[in-house]
Amino acid sequence: MTETVKITIDGQDYHVPKGMNLVDAAKLHGIEIPTFCYHPKMSPAGMCRMCLVELGSVQKDRESGEVLVDENGEPLVRWFPTLQTACTQTVHDGMVVRTQTERVAEGRSSIVEFLLTSHPLDCPTCDKGGECGLQELTMEYGPGESKFRYEDKHHAEKHVPLGDLIILDRERCILCARCVRYCDELVGEPVLGFHNRGRDLVIETVSDPPFDTVFSGNTTDICPVGALTTADFRFGARPWEMDPVPTICPHCPVGCNLTADTRLSADFGGKRAIKRIMPRQNEAVNEIWICDKGRFGHHHSRAEGRLRQPLMRRDGELVPVSWDEALATVAEKLVQHGSKAFFAAGHSLANEDLWELRKLARQTSRRAKLGLCPATVSGAQAVQQAGVGVGTRLQDLGAGDALLVIASDLYEHAPLWWLQVKQAAERGATVVVANARPTKLDRYAAHTVRYRYGEAARVLHNFAAMALRNDKLDAELLSARVEGWDALEEELKGSRVPAEQKSAAEALLEAQNLVVLAGNDGMGFEQHAELMQAAANLLIVSGHVGRANNGLVAVWPGANTQGALDMGFTSEAVGEAWEKPPAMWVLAEADPLGEDARMAQAFDQADFVVVAAQFLTATARRADVVLPVQSFAEREGTFTNGMRRVQRFYVAQSPLEGTLPAWKAFARLTERVKDGPKPFVAAEQVMQEITEKLAPYAEMSYANLAHVEEQFPPIRRDDLYYGGTAYENTGGLGLQWRTDAESPRKRLSVRPVERSARRWEGLLAVPLRVLYDRALPFAASALMDGHVPAPYAELNAEDAAALGVAEGDRIALEAGAARVELTARVNGHAPQGVVLVPQHLGDVLIAAPETCVVQKIEE
């Protein structure tokens, strides 16, 4: 239990957690202390003086520690002579506070009056109007009129771009420094600052590049006035005209809770469109933050290129046909090909879609194989055994705990987790970053482990060996219910551990709680399977499983990779399809021809290809039938995030006419294949069936996924304790399914992993995933175009010199069946012998590491 102290507010005694900020402690008991500059997620600044209170402390006898009392037996209180800022106080025993006296009221009213002398009060044209902290607090505490002359009002620049996404209105800024502290403390990129002083004080940036962190949009939420606005939403709609709809970000495995603000919109044919995306508070997932990809990457749902009609190939051309005709044709082909049909899903289909696709596959053939595209990850079993415990919150990890990030560039792959791991490091957690190349997180790591591509699993194997050597094993767990320990122990005994790995392992194994975040940077799915098993081994043998804040977090490539694995879609199945190309393909939101040159030949011999997609992708162009399906914005469903949290999203936007949610399209197909079952009418029924048939989901339902609980700190848009415009969670906090380690009767298994790294000759091309890329559907959100670089490759300086290539040169790169032209960067990121090639910037069709030949293109 957390220690508490006793404080008195307005004559009432309260027990509050020791070390808490006074403003938060008051809020915990429903007492409002108004704030502008204080924000519960950041350190106090004492800039605005809005939080003034009368403050005192109970007097005690120095010797005995007894509370001194007056003649009436009331405790004697020593009061500060002047009002004090509550936000700069940490609660202590005997603290006495008055928030409702006349002096306090006068203090608050004067502060509002002063603030308004330099505020334009252009609320009618201000984007924040209706959800503005200054409006709320002025109405509640302001004097209603001013002693100051209107003509003396301070004027300043009203349009100052701080980057290409965020625009500052200096006249509205109340100089609270929330944005400054946010950039400095939270994000660690101090690109916003004050300039000048007194009446001339302004917010500015002279950084190069300016304000371009991937977390820039959050400043527009926490700014207590309309001084910061996004290029996306500026003058887009009034807050009160919009309907907020809870949704989930479809872009990465974090699964940030979002709210889509929607409105009937003239530029969307008078139908309901998303006007902006806002964070929705879920303290276990994204707190009140989101990244800019999630915030601005929603435009694809209304993009020009969206498919609005089924297409069918006639005389070599894809031509529009009716749903009926398309479905009839596909069903006929499925019956014809039977077990020779292959089904593959992408990483961001909803669970309901995946389930119906699986049903369609089973209806077609009992032996049907289910593939996952791109086929880059594995390790479902490792997660099932050793995934993070239910109730894990990265924000709870701090001093005494440890986090290991391996084979992932978190900033690019799961931005919110990057932010949370960074903050955990700053709270005192030991962060170890193990990667084959430098990443942004290295700066916050207590230990950085560098391995050669292909050796990731070996690093974790060595860490487990250190657990054995240093007697950090969970002997009880091992003897009670772990299979395969003897064989693993034998292997671990023989390991030689390099020194830098020793110290990193020791730091990790000391920790109370240990979370491992494992990605798949620079590996094929076979190697990834080994890495995930090695992670599970480490966590199981050291006993860091089966409880909150311990276990494995998979940094999957997609928003619902976890769901796809849960439903049985695997990379291994795709691997088999390369070997033995199927006669018929059914692909759902998967674009193998757009990302992997090796896939082309697997399609050569296909008789029939069906693609369900939002856009005409490379694979869709090769298809015989294309089924237009809906984006996350237009239908409901669930995603399972990288911590196995199943989360609901709701219908936000009017669906494009002619499209169907993928699950419905598959259900209608199933019905036509050998008299299959009738389709469900609602997504909820699909989930119902999932819960009946899929063990981990057994306890879930749309109703309990929608369950909400009070979050602390409470961030409400109309609150006087103004935390910003993140939405309150009304859509549900979701539920995590339980791992085997959490079920005391389930057995766990460990096994030695394949550690012999594949050696390569010459240069190895390693594909990278970057956050802002040109992969569909995100690419269709044109707002972010300026942030997506032209295709490039990163070379090691020595390799570049040997090739005669310099920074900025054009190069031709050939890897297996892939050939691309790129711009060379020589910046110290690429290890020797490796060329790093970001995917999805252009036609880079390299999905897994492969040896390559690089040549300079002479101009």
Binding site: P190, G193, F194, H195, R197, V206, S207
Partner: protein, 170 residues
């Protein structure tokens, strides 16, 4: 480049502080000494040396009146016009000084010949000796405008003499 020109001095400055970022103020002075004022380049250089963001360096330069963010004259005159000084006539003194030099009487400025820059500033910690004028960080206290005019003429003569000397030297 400061780093190339003053490696020793920079090393000495860093030696005085627990971390690099704490050395930002003395390094800004060094840059100001070198370039006459804190150009954008100078700020970037100092930020680079201290391992901070240029925005942070500029924030510091902007806060303190003793850092110049614009080119200034050979004689950089700062007059405190804060309330305590104003009560002793410093604001009036400032206006008169500006008029005498022919620059904007509200905000000050630089004379056409580039010799003088006059600026109103916040407290110079000489409140008891107002009006006070700081010339290139040297104090002249308890002034009145007549006294100030004499100082100006003295500096003007000084500058002219130096110029003659330079001409002869060529």
């Amino acid at each position: 480049m400061l780093a190339e020109k003053y490696p020793e001095r920079i090393k000495q400055i860093f030696a005085k502080y627990p971390d690099k970022r704490s050395a930002v103020m003395p390094l800004l002075y060094l840059a100001q000494e070198e370039y006459g004022w804190l150009t954008e380049e100078a700020l970037r250089e100092v930020a680079g040396l201290c391992d901070i963001d240029p925005t942070q360096a500029r924030s510091i330069a902007g806060f303190y009146t003793m850092f110049a963010e614009k080119p200034k004259g050979k004689y950089w005159l700062q007059v405190c016009t804060d309330l305590p000084c104003a009560l002793r006539g410093a604001d009036q003194f400032f206006h008169e000084l500006c008029e005498y030099l022919g620059v904007d009487p509200e905000h000050g400025g630089t004379t056409d010949d580039g010799l003088f820059t006059v600026e109103p500033v916040m407290c110079l910690a000489a409140c008891d000796k107002a009006p006070v004028l700081q010339n290139n960080f040297h104090f002249h206290e308890n002034l009145n405008i007549e006294h100030a005019k004499q100082l100006i003429e003295k500096w003007r003569a000084e500058a002219a003499a130096e110029e003659d000397k330079d001409d002869e030297a060529e």
